[in-house]
Symmetry: C2
Subunit: 268 residues, 2 copies
């Protein structure tokens, strides 16, 4: 709090501190809590705190996905607020929320994420154009990762539409690069061959959030390569937090996080 450091610098500093691009996705499902953790909002908070404690010298960022908390109602949003508090202040707390609305509503979402909940960064969806993104990009010390090319199977239906002689997702990357080089980032999935290179070429220096490694089948190589031209976060959720469903879940998460961070180092 109160730090005037630019978001891109905070992110780079966190990555350097752990020598890793690892972003741990905190997507807890009540029905998948390991042995010994109660299937309640309080249990989920305990689980998240243990995950953070087990990986905080390995992960550069933590990324709770809002959907998993909202499914528990207002108590789940309380868990989200407390989870954010448990993330060390020298790591990046990134809310995966894919928000995006008309100007005055986006302004309220930015207030919710940055002021009320205190997150460092958020993912946002560009379907409503530039106006919907601006409220998330007005704070030099906070970041917004705009969806460009997502990792899911049907992403191309919309993202491969054409505009101005290029694919929509490349046009979004250009638009974001043009809007702001300080606190805007882009989301590009590791599952789409070539997409990381394309987005990186359109937006050199811009932070990238790369999902799709592991369970979704994406490869590390291009993701790590993109880090040579600007900060990169490579996300893993289920592969880490559900590494074991037994009482050794925290050790197993630590081991999985460590192995993935090592694989990233080797892929440089």
């Amino acid at each position: 709090m109160g730090s005037a450091m630019r978001f891109v610098d905070r992110l780079s500093k966190s990555i350097a501190a752990v020598d890793s691009y690892l972003c741990v996705g905190l997507d807890p499902d009540l029905s998948r809590m390991p042995e010994g953790i109660p299937r309640t909002p309080e249990g989920v908070l305990e689980f998240n705190i243990r995950m953070i404690d087990a990986t905080k010298d390995i992960a550069a960022a933590y990324k709770p996905n809002a959907a998993f908390y909202e499914a528990m109602g207002h108590q789940g949003v309380w868990v989200l607020e407390e989870t954010r508090r448990a993330i060390p202040s020298d790591r990046i707390a990134l809310l995966d929320a894919k928000r995006g609305d008309i100007g005055n509503s986006s302004q309220k979402y930015a207030e919710a994420v940055f002021d009320t909940m205190g997150f460092d960064a958020v993912t946002v969806s560009p379907y409503l154009g530039r106006e919907s993104l601006i409220p998330f990009l007005e704070r030099p010390d906070r970041g917004a990762f705009v969806l460009s090319r997502t990792s899911n199977p049907t992403a191309g239906e919309v993202q491969k539409a054409h505009t101005g002689g290029m694919s929509l997702y490349v046009a979004i990357a250009n638009m974001v690069a043009e809007m702001d080089g300080v606190n805007a980032g882009l989301v590009v999935g590791a599952t789409v061959p070539g997409a990381i290179d394309e987005v990186r070429a359109a937006a050199p220096g811009i932070p990238l959030l790369i999902p799709g490694i592991g369970a979704q089948g994406g490869e590390l190589g291009p993701a790590v390569k993109a880090a040579a031209q600007g900060p990169v976060l490579i996300n893993s959720s289920r592969g880490i937090i559900y590494a074991s469903s037994g009482t050794d879940y925290a050790d197993a998460a630590r081991k999985a996080a460590w192995n993935l961070a090592e694989d990233m180092r080797k892929a440089r």
Copy 2:
């Protein structure tokens, strides 16, 4: 609860019961609470309940926008849950949330909106393609309004991209019409000349949610005309809930709602 009536029929029934397409947007801002209402989450809930009571024989639907509640943190989400409970069961409770994520996350959002909070319908954003929409469209008695052409100034930057020889927003309307004729709807802004006709032509019979009337400058004519070929909700937020900032706010809201509903009837 427990009703097996299809969403499109529930919506048509609600519209017929009040003889109006009016959807009241419940976007309460702590800083704009009228005289006599405390600027607290409890105050906002009281305000919403009075708005609903004042308009429930005029409005076919109520549409809280999640951003305004999330800005108040988990207590705001509690207000949202209680606001939903205050909406009569024979009116449509529509959450304006513009959600959309990869499959398993969208599944959690659908659970949050329909099961945990009990809304009848939700707005969803199509940037991630069909897979991200399916979890919202699997319940015949609940509806999902997919963003097609939104009412804000920069919407065209993305929505006018081209795919399959047409604008993206028309392609989205085609996709949604093809996916489901029972519980899928579309959002199309009244501010874009011609867009309502285009979307209606691509998706005859599909429910439309039309924002952009009033403060945003859209006209009633094309919106009302679209109701001849399928159910339509025409939204007004600020023009109703902030009709007066004095202690007569509930009467003023009722009058504004009544006048708008009358204008809709005359525009038929």
